[in-house]
Protein backbone atom coordinates (compact mmCIF):
# COMPACT_ATOMS: atom_id res chain seq x y z
CA UNK A 1 0.00 0.00 0.00
CA UNK A 2 0.93 3.68 -0.29
CA UNK A 3 1.09 5.62 2.95
CA UNK A 4 0.86 9.39 3.44
CA UNK A 5 2.51 10.69 6.58
CA UNK A 6 1.45 14.17 7.58
CA UNK A 7 4.21 15.50 9.80
CA UNK A 8 7.59 13.84 9.29
CA UNK A 9 8.99 14.44 12.77
CA UNK A 10 9.82 12.13 15.65
CA UNK A 11 6.62 10.04 15.45
CA UNK A 12 5.84 10.30 11.73
CA UNK A 13 9.47 9.67 10.82
CA UNK A 14 9.78 6.69 13.15
CA UNK A 15 6.55 5.24 11.73
CA UNK A 16 7.96 5.70 8.22
CA UNK A 17 11.06 3.73 9.21
CA UNK A 18 8.96 0.96 10.77
CA UNK A 19 6.67 0.79 7.72
CA UNK A 20 9.64 0.38 5.41
CA UNK A 21 11.44 -2.12 7.62
CA UNK A 22 8.33 -4.28 7.92
CA UNK A 23 7.72 -3.94 4.17
CA UNK A 24 4.22 -2.63 4.84
CA UNK A 25 4.44 0.34 2.46
CA UNK A 26 5.30 0.32 -1.24
CA UNK A 27 5.61 4.09 -1.19
CA UNK A 28 5.68 6.64 1.59
CA UNK A 29 4.58 10.17 0.80
CA UNK A 30 5.43 12.91 3.26
CA UNK A 31 3.37 16.03 3.82
CA UNK A 32 5.43 18.64 5.61
CA UNK A 33 4.94 22.40 5.96
CA UNK A 34 8.38 22.95 7.45
CA UNK A 35 10.73 23.17 4.45
CA UNK A 36 13.82 22.19 6.39
CA UNK A 37 12.04 19.16 7.80
CA UNK A 38 10.77 18.24 4.32
CA UNK A 39 14.34 18.30 2.97
CA UNK A 40 15.63 16.31 5.93
CA UNK A 41 12.88 13.70 5.58
CA UNK A 42 13.86 13.13 1.93
CA UNK A 43 17.57 13.18 2.62
CA UNK A 44 17.24 10.71 5.51
CA UNK A 45 15.16 8.42 3.30
CA UNK A 46 12.18 8.56 5.66
CA UNK A 47 9.82 9.36 2.77
CA UNK A 48 10.00 8.70 -0.98
CA UNK A 49 8.54 12.05 -1.92
CA UNK A 50 6.98 15.18 -0.44
CA UNK A 51 3.54 16.14 -1.79
CA UNK A 52 0.87 18.68 -1.05
CA UNK A 53 -1.84 17.34 1.23
CA UNK A 54 -4.54 16.73 -1.38
CA UNK A 55 -2.24 14.91 -3.77
CA UNK A 56 -0.82 12.79 -0.96
CA UNK A 57 -4.30 11.76 0.18
CA UNK A 58 -5.46 10.87 -3.33
CA UNK A 59 -2.39 8.68 -3.92
CA UNK A 60 -2.52 6.83 -0.58
CA UNK A 61 -4.30 3.92 1.05
CA UNK A 62 -3.38 4.91 4.59
CA UNK A 63 -3.01 8.46 5.89
CA UNK A 64 -1.14 8.97 9.15
CA UNK A 65 -1.62 12.25 10.98
CA UNK A 66 1.50 12.85 13.08
CA UNK A 67 1.34 16.56 13.87
CA UNK A 68 0.77 18.38 17.20
CA UNK A 69 -2.66 17.44 18.59
CA UNK A 70 -4.06 20.94 18.04
CA UNK A 71 -3.20 20.76 14.32
CA UNK A 72 -4.52 17.21 14.07
CA UNK A 73 -7.85 18.32 15.50
CA UNK A 74 -8.01 21.25 13.06
CA UNK A 75 -7.18 19.05 10.04
CA UNK A 76 -9.20 15.90 10.67
CA UNK A 77 -12.53 17.07 9.20
CA UNK A 78 -11.03 18.36 5.94
CA UNK A 79 -8.89 15.24 5.54
CA UNK A 80 -11.88 12.95 6.05
CA UNK A 81 -13.82 15.00 3.47
CA UNK A 82 -11.19 14.10 0.87
CA UNK A 83 -11.15 10.41 1.70
CA UNK A 84 -12.94 7.65 -0.12
CA UNK A 85 -11.80 4.15 0.85
CA UNK A 86 -8.60 5.29 2.51
CA UNK A 87 -7.98 4.80 6.20
CA UNK A 88 -6.96 7.80 8.31
CA UNK A 89 -5.25 7.48 11.68
CA UNK A 90 -3.73 9.91 14.11
CA UNK A 91 -0.95 9.26 16.61
CA UNK A 92 -1.58 11.99 19.17
CA UNK A 93 -1.20 11.88 22.96
CA UNK A 94 -4.77 13.05 23.52
CA UNK A 95 -7.75 11.31 22.00
CA UNK A 96 -11.02 12.84 23.13
CA UNK A 97 -10.78 16.17 21.28
CA UNK A 98 -9.95 14.63 17.91
CA UNK A 99 -12.61 11.92 18.31
CA UNK A 100 -15.30 14.48 19.19
CA UNK A 101 -14.35 16.52 16.13
CA UNK A 102 -14.13 13.50 13.83
CA UNK A 103 -17.58 12.37 15.00
CA UNK A 104 -18.99 15.37 13.11
CA UNK A 105 -17.69 14.00 9.80
CA UNK A 106 -19.78 11.86 7.48
CA UNK A 107 -16.63 9.85 6.85
CA UNK A 108 -15.99 9.23 10.57
CA UNK A 109 -15.82 5.47 10.03
CA UNK A 110 -12.66 5.75 7.90
CA UNK A 111 -10.84 7.26 10.91
CA UNK A 112 -9.14 5.18 13.60
CA UNK A 113 -7.96 7.06 16.69
CA UNK A 114 -4.66 5.66 17.95
CA UNK A 115 -1.95 6.55 20.43
CA UNK A 116 1.30 4.61 20.10
CA UNK A 117 2.79 5.02 23.61
CA UNK A 118 6.31 5.81 22.57
CA UNK A 119 8.33 8.99 22.29
CA UNK A 120 11.58 10.64 23.17
CA UNK A 121 12.46 14.14 24.26
CA UNK A 122 13.73 14.96 20.75
CA UNK A 123 11.78 16.23 17.74
CA UNK A 124 12.00 16.63 13.97
CA UNK A 125 12.95 14.13 11.22
CA UNK A 126 16.43 13.64 12.67
CA UNK A 127 14.85 12.35 15.90
CA UNK A 128 13.19 9.45 14.03
CA UNK A 129 14.66 6.07 14.96
CA UNK A 130 14.41 2.43 13.97
CA UNK A 131 12.69 0.02 16.35
CA UNK A 132 10.86 2.86 18.06
CA UNK A 133 7.62 1.14 18.94
CA UNK A 134 8.73 -2.40 19.76
CA UNK A 135 7.33 -3.74 23.04
CA UNK A 136 5.28 -0.64 23.83
CA UNK A 137 1.54 -0.26 24.06
CA UNK A 138 -0.67 1.35 21.45
CA UNK A 139 -4.13 2.47 22.49
CA UNK A 140 -6.92 2.27 19.93
CA UNK A 141 -9.90 4.40 20.95
CA UNK A 142 -13.61 4.22 20.22
CA UNK A 143 -13.06 1.47 17.70
CA UNK A 144 -16.82 0.86 17.39
CA UNK A 145 -16.96 4.19 15.55
CA UNK A 146 -14.56 2.97 12.85
CA UNK A 147 -15.10 0.59 9.94
CA UNK A 148 -14.00 -2.96 10.69
CA UNK A 149 -11.60 -3.12 7.73
CA UNK A 150 -10.01 0.16 8.84
CA UNK A 151 -9.45 -1.10 12.39
CA UNK A 152 -8.03 -4.39 11.09
CA UNK A 153 -5.53 -2.64 8.84
CA UNK A 154 -4.35 -0.47 11.73
CA UNK A 155 -4.19 -3.40 14.17
CA UNK A 156 -2.06 -5.36 11.73
CA UNK A 157 0.31 -2.42 11.24
CA UNK A 158 0.86 -1.86 14.96
CA UNK A 159 1.21 -5.61 15.60
CA UNK A 160 3.84 -5.73 12.87
CA UNK A 161 5.58 -2.83 14.63
CA UNK A 162 5.79 -5.10 17.70
CA UNK A 163 3.29 -3.17 19.81
CA UNK A 164 0.77 -4.41 22.38
CA UNK A 165 -2.77 -3.41 21.46
CA UNK A 166 -5.02 -1.85 24.12
CA UNK A 167 -8.58 -0.68 23.59
CA UNK A 168 -10.46 1.99 25.46
CA UNK A 169 -12.82 4.87 24.94
CA UNK A 170 -11.20 8.20 24.19
CA UNK A 171 -12.30 9.78 27.48
CA UNK A 172 -10.69 7.01 29.55
CA UNK A 173 -7.57 7.20 27.41
CA UNK A 174 -7.08 10.85 28.28
CA UNK A 175 -7.51 10.16 32.00
CA UNK A 176 -4.89 7.38 31.89
CA UNK A 177 -2.50 9.35 29.66
CA UNK A 178 -2.47 12.15 32.23
CA UNK A 179 -1.22 9.66 34.84
CA UNK A 180 1.35 7.73 32.87
CA UNK A 181 2.70 10.35 30.51
CA UNK A 182 1.55 13.95 30.83
CA UNK A 183 2.34 14.40 34.54
CA UNK A 184 5.86 13.01 34.03
CA UNK A 185 6.50 15.77 31.55
CA UNK A 186 5.20 18.51 33.83
CA UNK A 187 7.32 17.17 36.68
CA UNK A 188 10.38 17.13 34.50
CA UNK A 189 9.79 20.64 33.09
CA UNK A 190 9.31 21.98 36.62
CA UNK A 191 12.37 20.16 37.94
CA UNK A 192 14.53 21.63 35.19
CA UNK A 193 13.21 25.09 36.01
CA UNK A 194 13.90 24.48 39.71
CA UNK A 195 17.53 23.65 39.04
CA UNK A 196 17.97 26.39 36.42
CA UNK A 197 16.51 28.90 38.87
CA UNK A 198 19.05 27.81 41.47
CA UNK A 199 21.87 27.78 38.95
CA UNK A 200 21.79 31.58 38.98
CA UNK A 201 23.25 31.33 42.45
CA UNK A 202 25.14 28.12 42.00
CA UNK A 203 27.07 27.96 38.76
CA UNK A 204 29.17 24.91 39.42
CA UNK A 205 26.59 22.21 40.05
CA UNK A 206 26.43 20.77 36.60
CA UNK A 207 29.70 18.94 36.69
CA UNK A 208 28.04 16.84 39.36
CA UNK A 209 24.89 15.84 37.50
CA UNK A 210 24.65 12.05 37.27
CA UNK A 211 22.29 9.41 35.95
CA UNK A 212 19.50 9.95 38.46
CA UNK A 213 19.27 13.63 37.65
CA UNK A 214 19.46 13.02 33.93
CA UNK A 215 16.74 10.41 34.15
CA UNK A 216 14.24 12.68 35.89
CA UNK A 217 15.07 15.79 33.87
CA UNK A 218 15.57 14.48 30.33
CA UNK A 219 11.90 14.93 29.38
CA UNK A 220 12.38 18.66 30.03
CA UNK A 221 14.05 18.85 26.62
CA UNK A 222 10.67 18.10 25.02
CA UNK A 223 9.23 20.48 22.44
CA UNK A 224 6.58 22.98 23.64
CA UNK A 225 4.97 22.96 20.17
CA UNK A 226 4.02 19.36 20.85
CA UNK A 227 3.31 19.58 24.57
CA UNK A 228 1.35 22.79 25.08
CA UNK A 229 -1.51 21.54 22.84
CA UNK A 230 -1.52 18.23 24.74
CA UNK A 231 -1.84 20.00 28.10
CA UNK A 232 -4.48 22.28 26.60
CA UNK A 233 -6.59 19.41 25.28
CA UNK A 234 -6.17 17.33 28.44
CA UNK A 235 -6.34 20.26 30.82
CA UNK A 236 -8.78 18.91 33.39
CA UNK A 237 -7.17 15.51 33.78
CA UNK A 238 -3.69 16.99 33.96
CA UNK A 239 -4.82 19.48 36.60
CA UNK A 240 -6.35 16.66 38.62
CA UNK A 241 -3.13 14.64 38.62
CA UNK A 242 -0.96 17.73 39.12
CA UNK A 243 -2.97 18.66 42.23
CA UNK A 244 -2.47 15.17 43.60
CA UNK A 245 1.26 15.34 42.81
CA UNK A 246 1.68 18.66 44.60
CA UNK A 247 -0.13 17.28 47.64
CA UNK A 248 2.15 14.20 47.60
CA UNK A 249 5.20 16.49 47.48
CA UNK A 250 3.77 18.47 50.41
CA UNK A 251 3.74 15.25 52.45
CA UNK A 252 7.49 14.93 51.91
CA UNK A 253 7.91 18.57 52.79
CA UNK A 254 5.90 18.16 55.97
CA UNK A 255 7.94 15.10 57.04
CA UNK A 256 11.14 17.08 56.67
CA UNK A 257 9.77 20.17 58.42
CA UNK A 258 8.49 18.11 61.35
CA UNK A 259 11.45 15.72 61.25
CA UNK A 260 8.98 12.85 61.09
CA UNK A 261 11.35 10.26 59.62
CA UNK A 262 9.07 7.36 60.43
CA UNK A 263 6.39 8.74 58.12
CA UNK A 264 9.04 9.67 55.54
CA UNK A 265 10.14 6.02 55.54
CA UNK A 266 6.54 4.93 55.04
CA UNK A 267 6.08 7.33 52.12
CA UNK A 268 9.17 5.93 50.43
CA UNK A 269 8.17 2.34 51.16
CA UNK A 270 4.82 3.05 49.57
CA UNK A 271 6.46 4.53 46.48
CA UNK A 272 8.66 1.41 46.24
CA UNK A 273 5.45 -0.46 45.30
CA UNK A 274 6.03 0.95 41.83
CA UNK A 275 8.30 -2.10 41.49
CA UNK A 276 5.11 -4.08 40.89
CA UNK A 277 4.74 -2.19 37.63
CA UNK A 278 8.23 -1.22 36.51
CA UNK A 279 10.82 -3.96 36.40
Amino acid sequence: MNVAIIGTGLIGGSMAIALKEKKLAAKIIGVENNKLHAEEAIKLGLVDEINELDEAISKSDLIILAVPVSDAEKMIISILEKVDKQVVIDAGSTKNAICETANKSENRKRFVATHPMWGTEFSGPKAAVSGAFVGNAVVICDKENSDKDAVELVEKMYRDFGMNLLYMDSISHDVHAAYVSHISHITSFALANTVLEKEKEEGTIFGMASGGFESTVRLAKSNPDMWVPIFQQNRENVLDVLNEHISQLRKFKSCLEKENYQYLTELIQNSNKIKRILK
Copy 2:
Protein backbone atom coordinates in the same frame (compact mmCIF):
# COMPACT_ATOMS: atom_id res chain seq x y z
CA MET B 1 47.15 -3.00 48.67
CA ASN B 2 44.47 -4.66 50.78
CA VAL B 3 41.12 -2.93 50.88
CA ALA B 4 38.36 -3.26 53.46
CA ILE B 5 34.88 -2.44 52.23
CA ILE B 6 32.35 -1.82 54.96
CA GLY B 7 28.96 -2.43 53.39
CA THR B 8 29.00 -4.69 50.33
CA GLY B 9 25.89 -3.29 48.64
CA LEU B 10 25.36 -1.30 45.46
CA ILE B 11 28.21 1.17 46.03
CA GLY B 12 30.64 -0.97 48.05
CA GLY B 13 30.13 -3.92 45.72
CA SER B 14 30.60 -1.82 42.58
CA MET B 15 33.77 -0.31 44.06
CA ALA B 16 35.02 -3.84 44.79
CA ILE B 17 34.47 -4.79 41.14
CA ALA B 18 36.27 -1.64 39.93
CA LEU B 19 39.19 -2.20 42.34
CA LYS B 20 39.64 -5.75 41.05
CA GLU B 21 39.26 -4.85 37.39
CA LYS B 22 41.80 -2.05 37.69
CA LYS B 23 44.13 -4.37 39.66
CA LEU B 24 44.25 -1.84 42.49
CA ALA B 25 43.61 -4.33 45.28
CA ALA B 26 45.51 -7.51 46.08
CA LYS B 27 42.80 -8.54 48.51
CA ILE B 28 39.34 -7.19 49.26
CA ILE B 29 37.90 -7.80 52.69
CA GLY B 30 34.19 -7.27 53.20
CA VAL B 31 32.59 -6.18 56.46
CA GLU B 32 28.88 -6.90 56.35
CA ASN B 33 26.32 -7.18 59.15
CA ASN B 34 23.62 -8.57 56.89
CA LYS B 35 24.33 -12.33 56.70
CA LEU B 36 22.54 -12.82 53.41
CA HIS B 37 24.47 -9.93 51.86
CA ALA B 38 27.74 -11.32 53.26
CA GLU B 39 27.05 -14.69 51.60
CA GLU B 40 26.07 -13.02 48.34
CA ALA B 41 29.18 -10.82 48.32
CA ILE B 42 31.39 -13.92 48.65
CA LYS B 43 29.40 -15.95 46.14
CA LEU B 44 29.44 -13.13 43.57
CA GLY B 45 33.21 -12.77 44.05
CA LEU B 46 32.90 -9.13 45.12
CA VAL B 47 35.09 -9.75 48.18
CA ASP B 48 37.72 -12.37 48.96
CA GLU B 49 36.65 -12.80 52.56
CA ILE B 50 34.27 -11.43 55.17
CA ASN B 51 35.87 -10.30 58.43
CA GLU B 52 34.79 -8.56 61.59
CA LEU B 53 35.41 -4.81 61.49
CA ASP B 54 38.53 -4.72 63.70
CA GLU B 55 40.27 -7.54 61.87
CA ALA B 56 39.42 -6.02 58.49
CA ILE B 57 40.85 -2.65 59.51
CA SER B 58 44.06 -4.14 60.86
CA LYS B 59 44.66 -6.12 57.65
CA SER B 60 43.93 -3.27 55.23
CA ASP B 61 45.64 -0.25 53.68
CA LEU B 62 42.44 1.42 52.54
CA ILE B 63 39.08 1.28 54.32
CA ILE B 64 35.98 2.21 52.34
CA LEU B 65 32.85 3.07 54.28
CA ALA B 66 29.87 2.33 52.02
CA VAL B 67 26.95 2.15 54.42
CA PRO B 68 23.93 4.48 54.85
CA VAL B 69 25.12 7.98 55.78
CA SER B 70 23.67 7.74 59.31
CA ASP B 71 25.71 4.57 60.00
CA ALA B 72 28.81 6.09 58.42
CA GLU B 73 28.54 9.09 60.72
CA LYS B 74 28.13 6.80 63.75
CA MET B 75 31.12 4.62 62.80
CA ILE B 76 33.69 7.12 61.62
CA ILE B 77 35.18 8.04 65.01
CA SER B 78 35.65 4.46 66.19
CA ILE B 79 37.12 3.44 62.82
CA LEU B 80 39.60 6.32 62.87
CA GLU B 81 40.57 5.34 66.44
CA LYS B 82 41.69 1.95 65.13
CA VAL B 83 43.66 3.34 62.22
CA ASP B 84 47.39 3.86 62.06
CA LYS B 85 48.71 4.56 58.56
CA GLN B 86 45.60 3.36 56.78
CA VAL B 87 43.43 5.65 54.72
CA VAL B 88 39.68 5.79 55.42
CA ILE B 89 37.14 7.09 52.92
CA ASP B 90 33.39 7.22 52.80
CA ALA B 91 31.16 7.27 49.73
CA GLY B 92 28.02 8.88 51.11
CA SER B 93 25.62 11.32 49.41
CA THR B 94 25.95 13.86 52.23
CA LYS B 95 29.30 15.16 53.39
CA ASN B 96 28.92 17.83 56.07
CA ALA B 97 27.69 15.61 58.92
CA ILE B 98 30.45 13.02 58.55
CA CYS B 99 33.13 15.71 58.16
CA GLU B 100 31.97 17.55 61.27
CA THR B 101 32.05 14.30 63.23
CA ALA B 102 35.40 13.21 61.81
CA ASN B 103 36.88 16.61 62.73
CA LYS B 104 36.60 15.54 66.38
CA SER B 105 38.99 12.64 65.82
CA GLU B 106 42.73 12.87 66.45
CA ASN B 107 43.15 10.79 63.34
CA ARG B 108 41.07 13.12 61.15
CA LYS B 109 43.87 13.47 58.63
CA ARG B 110 43.67 9.80 57.65
CA PHE B 111 40.08 10.36 56.50
CA VAL B 112 39.13 11.58 53.01
CA ALA B 113 35.48 12.54 52.49
CA THR B 114 34.30 11.51 49.01
CA HIS B 115 31.09 11.24 47.05
CA PRO B 116 31.26 9.27 43.83
CA MET B 117 28.23 10.64 41.93
CA TRP B 118 26.87 7.37 40.69
CA GLY B 119 24.08 5.09 41.78
CA THR B 120 21.08 3.15 40.61
CA GLU B 121 17.68 2.52 42.13
CA PHE B 122 18.75 -0.97 43.20
CA SER B 123 20.51 -2.08 46.37
CA GLY B 124 22.44 -4.98 47.87
CA PRO B 125 25.43 -6.98 46.54
CA LYS B 126 23.44 -8.20 43.53
CA ALA B 127 23.00 -4.58 42.43
CA ALA B 128 26.79 -4.12 42.07
CA VAL B 129 27.92 -3.68 38.47
CA SER B 130 31.09 -3.40 36.45
CA GLY B 131 31.98 -0.01 34.95
CA ALA B 132 29.76 1.78 37.44
CA PHE B 133 31.72 4.97 37.93
CA VAL B 134 33.16 5.60 34.46
CA GLY B 135 32.64 9.14 33.19
CA ASN B 136 30.91 10.40 36.33
CA ALA B 137 32.05 13.00 38.82
CA VAL B 138 33.47 12.27 42.26
CA VAL B 139 33.50 15.07 44.80
CA ILE B 140 36.34 15.20 47.31
CA CYS B 141 35.48 17.44 50.25
CA ASP B 142 37.58 19.47 52.68
CA LYS B 143 40.77 17.93 51.34
CA GLU B 144 42.91 20.38 53.32
CA ASN B 145 41.83 18.44 56.42
CA SER B 146 43.33 15.19 55.07
CA ASP B 147 46.94 14.04 54.79
CA LYS B 148 48.44 14.62 51.37
CA ASP B 149 49.34 10.96 50.85
CA ALA B 150 45.80 9.94 51.76
CA VAL B 151 44.26 12.34 49.24
CA GLU B 152 46.69 11.21 46.53
CA LEU B 153 45.84 7.55 47.05
CA VAL B 154 42.13 8.31 46.79
CA GLU B 155 42.57 10.57 43.76
CA LYS B 156 44.49 7.85 41.95
CA MET B 157 41.83 5.27 42.73
CA TYR B 158 38.96 7.39 41.43
CA ARG B 159 40.96 8.44 38.37
CA ASP B 160 41.63 4.79 37.65
CA PHE B 161 37.87 4.20 37.97
CA GLY B 162 37.45 6.73 35.13
CA MET B 163 35.89 9.47 37.26
CA ASN B 164 36.22 13.26 37.01
CA LEU B 165 37.54 14.77 40.22
CA LEU B 166 35.80 17.79 41.73
CA TYR B 167 36.79 19.55 44.93
CA MET B 168 34.61 21.55 47.28
CA ASP B 169 33.96 22.12 50.93
CA SER B 170 31.48 19.75 52.54
CA ILE B 171 28.85 22.45 53.12
CA SER B 172 28.81 23.45 49.44
CA HIS B 173 28.70 19.80 48.43
CA ASP B 174 25.50 19.25 50.37
CA VAL B 175 23.87 22.31 48.79
CA HIS B 176 24.73 21.09 45.29
CA ALA B 177 23.78 17.48 46.01
CA ALA B 178 20.30 18.64 47.01
CA TYR B 179 19.89 20.19 43.54
CA VAL B 180 21.33 17.51 41.31
CA SER B 181 20.45 14.36 43.19
CA HIS B 182 18.29 14.54 46.30
CA ILE B 183 15.40 16.52 44.78
CA SER B 184 15.21 14.10 41.83
CA HIS B 185 14.60 11.29 44.28
CA ILE B 186 11.87 13.15 46.17
CA THR B 187 10.17 14.04 42.90
CA SER B 188 10.28 10.44 41.79
CA PHE B 189 9.01 9.06 45.11
CA ALA B 190 6.14 11.56 45.07
CA LEU B 191 5.30 10.84 41.44
CA ALA B 192 5.11 7.10 42.15
CA ASN B 193 2.80 7.80 45.10
CA THR B 194 0.67 10.05 42.90
CA VAL B 195 0.14 7.32 40.34
CA LEU B 196 -0.28 4.57 42.93
CA GLU B 197 -2.88 6.70 44.71
CA LYS B 198 -4.76 7.04 41.45
CA GLU B 199 -4.39 3.36 40.63
CA LYS B 200 -6.94 2.59 43.33
CA GLU B 201 -9.47 4.12 40.99
CA GLU B 202 -7.79 3.25 37.76
CA GLY B 203 -6.50 -0.30 37.62
CA THR B 204 -5.68 -0.56 33.95
CA ILE B 205 -3.20 2.24 33.42
CA PHE B 206 -0.06 0.23 33.79
CA GLY B 207 -0.25 -1.49 30.45
CA MET B 208 0.25 1.97 29.02
CA ALA B 209 3.36 3.01 30.93
CA SER B 210 6.15 3.88 28.50
CA GLY B 211 9.71 5.16 28.55
CA GLY B 212 8.96 8.68 29.72
CA PHE B 213 7.06 7.45 32.74
CA GLU B 214 9.68 4.84 33.56
CA SER B 215 12.41 7.42 33.30
CA THR B 216 10.86 9.82 35.79
CA VAL B 217 9.64 7.13 38.20
CA ARG B 218 12.49 4.61 38.26
CA LEU B 219 14.27 6.32 41.17
CA ALA B 220 11.15 5.60 43.25
CA LYS B 221 12.42 2.04 43.61
CA SER B 222 15.30 3.37 45.73
CA ASN B 223 15.85 1.98 49.22
CA PRO B 224 14.50 4.05 52.15
CA ASP B 225 17.29 2.69 54.41
CA MET B 226 19.71 4.63 52.23
CA TRP B 227 17.59 7.68 51.44
CA VAL B 228 15.91 8.63 54.71
CA PRO B 229 19.29 9.28 56.40
CA ILE B 230 20.37 11.37 53.41
CA PHE B 231 17.26 13.54 53.62
CA GLN B 232 17.72 13.75 57.39
CA GLN B 233 21.34 14.90 57.15
CA ASN B 234 20.63 17.31 54.29
CA ARG B 235 17.26 18.42 55.58
CA GLU B 236 17.60 22.18 55.21
CA ASN B 237 19.01 22.15 51.68
CA VAL B 238 16.47 19.59 50.51
CA LEU B 239 13.63 21.64 52.00
CA ASP B 240 14.94 24.72 50.22
CA VAL B 241 14.97 23.01 46.82
CA LEU B 242 11.69 21.21 47.48
CA ASN B 243 9.98 24.52 48.22
CA GLU B 244 11.31 25.93 44.97
CA HIS B 245 10.14 22.84 43.09
CA ILE B 246 6.63 23.05 44.52
CA SER B 247 6.46 26.71 43.54
CA GLN B 248 7.60 25.84 40.00
CA LEU B 249 4.88 23.19 39.79
CA ARG B 250 2.34 25.75 40.99
CA LYS B 251 3.28 27.95 38.00
CA PHE B 252 2.29 25.10 35.67
CA LYS B 253 -0.90 24.60 37.66
CA SER B 254 -1.75 28.29 37.44
CA CYS B 255 -1.17 28.35 33.66
CA LEU B 256 -3.59 25.48 33.23
CA GLU B 257 -6.18 26.92 35.60
CA LYS B 258 -6.07 30.30 33.88
CA GLU B 259 -5.61 28.78 30.41
CA ASN B 260 -2.55 30.97 29.96
CA TYR B 261 -0.89 28.93 27.23
CA GLN B 262 1.52 31.68 26.29
CA TYR B 263 3.11 31.56 29.74
CA LEU B 264 2.97 27.77 29.72
CA THR B 265 4.99 27.85 26.47
CA GLU B 266 7.50 30.18 28.09
CA LEU B 267 7.85 27.90 31.12
CA ILE B 268 8.58 24.94 28.86
CA GLN B 269 10.96 26.96 26.68
CA ASN B 270 12.83 27.94 29.82
CA SER B 271 13.06 24.33 30.97
CA ASN B 272 14.40 23.39 27.52
CA LYS B 273 17.56 25.30 28.52
CA ILE B 274 18.50 22.17 30.42
CA LYS B 275 19.85 21.08 27.00
CA ARG B 276 22.85 23.26 27.80
CA ILE B 277 23.71 20.81 30.53
CA LEU B 278 22.32 17.45 29.48
CA LYS B 279 23.14 16.22 26.01
